[in-house]
Symmetry: C2
Subunit: 165 residues, 2 copies
Amino acid sequence: MRALPHVPHSRKDEDAMAAGESCQVLQQLRSAGKRITAERELLLGIIGRNPHLDASEIYVLAKAERPRIGLATVYRTLSLLEEFGVVRASDLGESHHHFEVHREDHVHLICSQCGRILDVAPPPSLLRMASAQGFQVDNTRLELFGLCSACATKRSPKSATAKKG
Amino acid sequence: MRALPHVPHSRKDEDAMAAGESCQVLQQLRSAGKRITAERELLLGIIGRNPHLDASEIYVLAKAERPRIGLATVYRTLSLLEEFGVVRASDLGESHHHFEVHREDHVHLICSQCGRILDVAPPPSLLRMASAQGFQVDNTRLELFGLCSACATKRSPKSATAKKG
DNA sequence: GTAGTTGCAAAAAATTTGCACGGAC
DNA sequence: GTCCGTGCAAATTTTTTGCAACTAC
């Protein structure tokens, strides 16, 4: 369990987006006969505001607001939301999964030095290539491990393009 | 633990390739001061011949040839080989890792229906995009989940939107 | 009221570690 | 002979499950 990383671009935008999304999702659950519970709303909010958390990080945040919540509920809710295509699990090179609300397919650039995660759009050619094989994509897990520009620069200060972090 | 999937294209080619690789890798280990043991040779061979196995599948195959081998040795060897860049772990959507000898970066197309895995080359634009961000890639984990052409056809034989639950 | 959800604890699954013995170099 | 690597068992970590109590609908 580490400190929470990845401060989003604009807290206000993110919250607004998250709130809008949450409503939609809750409707979706309801119309599938699932129940709307305080736990589900809470967890959805947390995941919506904080990409790339793992189950126990989510649990800690949730517990702060709702002390009696159990880790099992976190796992069950994550799995439910994953089933509904709302949440995606990713493997950031650790021995457990991290989760985020699925907004659009994206590639994780994971810096093995500083741990920072950059989200970038996948090239259209990637999905085109899949359909060229007759493959119907419905979920992606795309991770590139390496050094972010800042850490790469630190490591070899005078080489190649001297980019500033 | 399931039956072993993914019969390779040509057993002979694969074996030859694996044998060649193994030698190289063993030299690499030796010159790094690591020891060449029967266990390491065996495991390297198994992983080289069978992509996408998980630790316990590897363990079972190894145990068939060397009954006293322990699962811990499998994990320790995998981790050593990963450190040397010889083996890659991938997350095929299950709660544990699968492993393969790293030949070249590739995308896994994982059919959620039949479980088959197609390996395809990633589009160059993917890596270009990373370097455009100043990111230095040194490992990839690229998974596309969905339906392979066979299963997609089975599911909607007339191409209509006939979705089954 | 009923059936889906939750919390808790216990179980299962996946991986790592401690230690004494054995084998590579 | 010296250490590194191994097997085994025990410990950790991550995730799932059983069940009684609870609550959304």
